[in-house]
């Protein structure tokens, strides 16, 4: 994959993707840059509050941009919420997570739990009943902050470009009643957004750096709600929150996604208990051509079914710094043929043109789920040895089996299996 958005490695090591544009916090230009796919700056929004360090991670919740910074000078982190308003990127709120007797903070990835909905019915100005299409009846609407404040729902923009925040008073069938009437009118289908928690991947579990922990923070107050210790949460460089439909048994799920090594893992943040289960995991190709060195992913964004990974090298690249800039590399949430594993039983046979070995190919997608009904083509590099049957279709377990009949020369025979996404 060629270089594309070319984000500066010092000033712009972060991005958020929204409707085909790539947004990055640039602490040297002191602006939120809106870039096109080819790296051109389509627009820029100056900050009303200057940054002093680079933003490590950026998120967009449909209304607000969020930034994660390491201010240096100890195990402290800062998360800020910003909003584009009248051509300026205005700071709305800052949370300083400072080292204390109970916690140290060292994070390179976070996500904001947020939900995108639309109005199920219109609201007249002054109206206080908000009916939602997707999340009506959801317990998420009963969210209260650690200080007791209710959930904030951002309505709009409406057809006139007007928008506002409303506050949930009570949950009713099909939606919520707000604490006061709306200022503007809204039509069915107009957007409604809300956010609840910040999820921060901390390289400390409290004060313990031996393992990491996932910190669940109130996104309105910054207060710690709970934390989930696990080595899986340590050294995380990229995460996001997104609605995913890749897991058949779960349907559409709002999930916290993070990259650990070569896999994106999808956490079910709604589960109760001391550990959080996973909806699933997805392998990616962020490995150098040596097939062993993992390419770090600096930030992660998802838009439609596209997964955008911010990297300094393409998949199967030659070095970890092959690119002088950060650019995105794509994965997909659609099920795709990702791996084919091949084995021979027995793997050693007589070179007598008679002996045979069973050849088994396993075809899996990026979620390690078997892919049925795909043709696998087998070939060998021996002039007299033969593959008895090819191509062979994968069965319900993703398995395709054939037979190899030996040649007449004692040698290592290479058998290749190729499967195509159809």
């Amino acid at each position: 994959m060629a270089e594309n958005i070319k984000l500066n490695i010092t000033n712009q090591p972060n991005f958020a993707v929204y409707q085909g544009y790539f947004y990055t916090f640039d602490y040297v230009q002191d602006s939120l840059l809106q870039k096109t796919d080819d790296g051109n700056t389509a627009f820029s929004y100056p900050f009303d509050t200057l940054l002093t360090v680079a933003v490590d991670n950026a998120e967009y919740d449909g209304v607000y941009f969020w930034s994660l910074e390491d201010p240096g000078g100890g195990n402290n982190m800062t998360i800020r919420r910003w909003k584009i308003d009248n051509y300026i990127c205005k700071l709305q709120q800052s949370f300083a997570f400072t080292s204390s007797v109970s916690h140290d903070y060292d994070s390179r990835a976070f996500a904001v739990e947020h939900y995108h909905d639309t109005l199920a019915s219109g609201i007249s100005a002054g109206g206080s009943d908000v009916y939602l299409t997707t999340y009506s009846g959801s317990s998420k609407l009963s969210f209260t902050t650690t200080s007791g404040a209710p959930l904030t729902i951002h309505l709009g923009p409406n057809s006139s470009g007007q928008e506002e925040d409303v506050y949930v008073s009570t949950v009713i069938t099909g939606g919520v009643t707000t604490t006061s009437g709306t200022t503007y009118s809204y039509a069915p289908g107009d957007p409604a957004h809300f956010y609840t928690y910040i999820w921060m991947f901390n390289n400390f579990d409290g004060k313990d750096s031996a393992t990491g922990a996932l910190y669940k923070l109130d996104a309105y107050t910054g207060a710690l709600v709970t934390k989930y210790p696990s080595g899986a949460y340590k050294d995380i460089g990229a995460s996001t929150f997104y609605r995913v439909n890749s897991f058949t048994s779960y349907g559409n799920v709002d999930t916290l996604c993070f990259i650990k090594g070569t896999n994106t893992l999808f956490i079910n943040v709604t589960a109760s208990g001391s550990t959080l289960p996973y909806y699933g995991s997805m392998v990616m190709k962020n490995i150098l051509s040596d097939t062993t060195t993992v390419i770090p992913v600096k930030d992660l964004a998802m838009d439609s079914q596209n997964v955008y990974r911010l990297q300094r090298a393409p998949d199967a690249g030659s070095s970890l710094t092959q690119w002088g800039y950060y650019s995105y590399v794509l994965s997909t949430l659609d099920h795709f043929v990702t791996s084919i594993s091949l084995a021979a039983y027995p793997a050693t046979i007589a070179a007598n043109t008679i002996s045979t070995a069973g050849i088994t190919a396993m075809v899996k997608d990026q979620f390690l789920l078997p892919i049925p009904s795909r043709l696998v083509n087998f070939s060998d590099d021996d002039t007299t040895g033969t593959i008895v049957t090819t191509p062979v279709s994968t069965d319900s377990n993703g398995k395709a089996m054939t037979t190899y009949r030996s040649g007449n020369t004692a040698r290592e025979v290479k058998i290749t299996a190729v499967v195509e996404q159809t």
């Binding site: 080595g231 899986a232 995991s281 594993s341 091949l342 008679i354 396993m362 390690l368």
Partner: protein, 394 residues
């Protein structure tokens, strides 16, 4: 580079079905690779590794890892649960331990009786004698802890939660086998549930062991055997852990072409009688090959022609066109046993002299591996070279 396959960057490997698993302490993950070195999947470790994994094993349910720690070794038991690999148990072996290889003794019987919910006595199709109080029997839906065993009756600590059918697959492990090079070689039989040593076997035989595995071998012996296989230099030994005697020994080709330098094997797995050896170099058809990564090299438990030794009696004949010399080809497999009924074909460099029985077949009845033929002398005085070639035809 030639002959590379899985390209592991860490010297540990476990083979399960068609996949190769490696503990990666750099990324704290259990990496699942295909034969072609692609990463099919990776399971983040729930608990980060503090040291590189020097050896690994798989018992059908759990992955096991061994690390070097101060004064000895640490063995950990892991399980893939959903998308992560979670630590279940840590056993520390200190002081006076210096191990590079271990194996987990494990069995895979089936239920011999129907089990109803709450039932406390069960029996298995096989291996009842391998079970003792404290062993945990794993069924697909639950684990059952064993309180006591009497013959084929296994009494559980508490009744099963669910009902189970006859023939349901079971898995259990009962002992860890740790090769210790700390003091001239010991083999430790350890209770894996408590970490306590059951028996220690001493002997240089167990010194400097870098690769071993516990597995069921269904080819190569008259009947299937469960063996602790360990590699001593170039000999792969099959140990009967019940009798502590060898089922057999096979030679493998982990030797450089100088025929002196033994190539280290870092991991050993057996799947369907394919033996996978993890190495950073190999001898392929008379050439040394070295890699910057670790790759598997294959052997097989199936008996294959391994060597042919050839001699003539007498070796000196008058060149009279009449005298004969008895040609003895001794054909052995990798276990050092004579191969049966394999054709040995002969050629000679004399235009008049000839081999009378060609091809001759190796002994069919007594397993001596001997193929006997005769050379009738020519009429010129010179050195005659007779070459014997044996063919594996099956």
């Amino acid at each position: 580079m030639a002959y590379e396959n899985i390209k592991l960057n860490k010297p540990n490997m476990t083979v399960v079905d068609t996949y190769f698993y490696m503990f990666d302490d750099t990324y704290d993950a259990l990496v699942q690779k295909t034969d072609g070195s692609n990463t099919a999947f990776a399971y983040p470790l729930g608990t980060p590794l503090s040291n590189p994994v020097v050896y690994s094993a798989y018992d059908g349910i759990y992955f096991w890892s061994m690390e070097d720690v101060t004064g000895g070794n640490s063995i950990k038991r892991w399980k893939i649960e959903g998308s992560t690999c979670n630590l279940k148990q840590t056993l520390n072996f200190t002081p006076n331990f210096s191990s590079d290889a271990f194996a987990i003794e494990h069995y895979h019987p089936t239920l011999a009786t129907t089990v109803t919910g709450g039932q406390t006595i069960i029996s298995m199709s096989d291996y009842n004698s391998k079970v003792y109080s404290g062993v945990v029997l794993s069924l697909p839906t639950e684990d059952l802890a064993v309180a006591s065993v009497s013959g084929s009756e296994i009494t559980l600590v508490s009744g099963s939660l669910y009902s189970h059918s006859i023939g349901e697959q079971m898995n259990f492990y009962n002992y860890l086998w740790i090769f210790n090079s700390y003091s001239a070689g010991t083999l430790h039989k350890v209770n894996p549930y408590t970490g306590s040593t059951v028996t220690t076997y001493s002997g240089t035989e167990y010194d400097d062991i870098y690769a071993c595995v516990f597995t069921e071998v269904t080819e190569g012996f008259p009947s299937a055997v469960n063996a602790l296989m360990y590699l001593k230099s170039t000999n792969l030994k099959y140990l009967d852990v019940g009798a502590m005697s060898l089922y057999g020994t096979m030679t493998i080709d982990n030797m450089r072409i100088d025929n002196i330098t033994v190539i280290r094997v870092y991991g050993l797995s057996v799947v369907d009688n394919n033996i996978y050896r993890l190495q950073s170099e190999a001898n392929y058809y008379g050439s040394n090959v070295s890699w910057s990564t670790y790759n598997y090299v294959l052997s097989t438990t199936r008996r294959f022609i391994n060597t042919i030794s050839f001699s003539a009696y007498p070796a000196i004949l008058p060149a009279n066109g009449t005298n004969t010399s008895r040609l003895l080809a001794l054909v052995n497999d990798q276990y050092g046993d004579g191969v049966v009924n394999k054709p040995v074909a002969y050629t000679d460099t004399d235009s008049i002299g000839f081999v009378t029985i060609n091809p001759a077949y190796t002994d069919y009845f007594f397993g001596t591996g001997e193929a006997i033929s005769y050379y009738k002398a020519g009429t010129d005085i010179h050195t005659v070279t007779v070459e014997a070639t044996v063919t594996q035809f099956d």
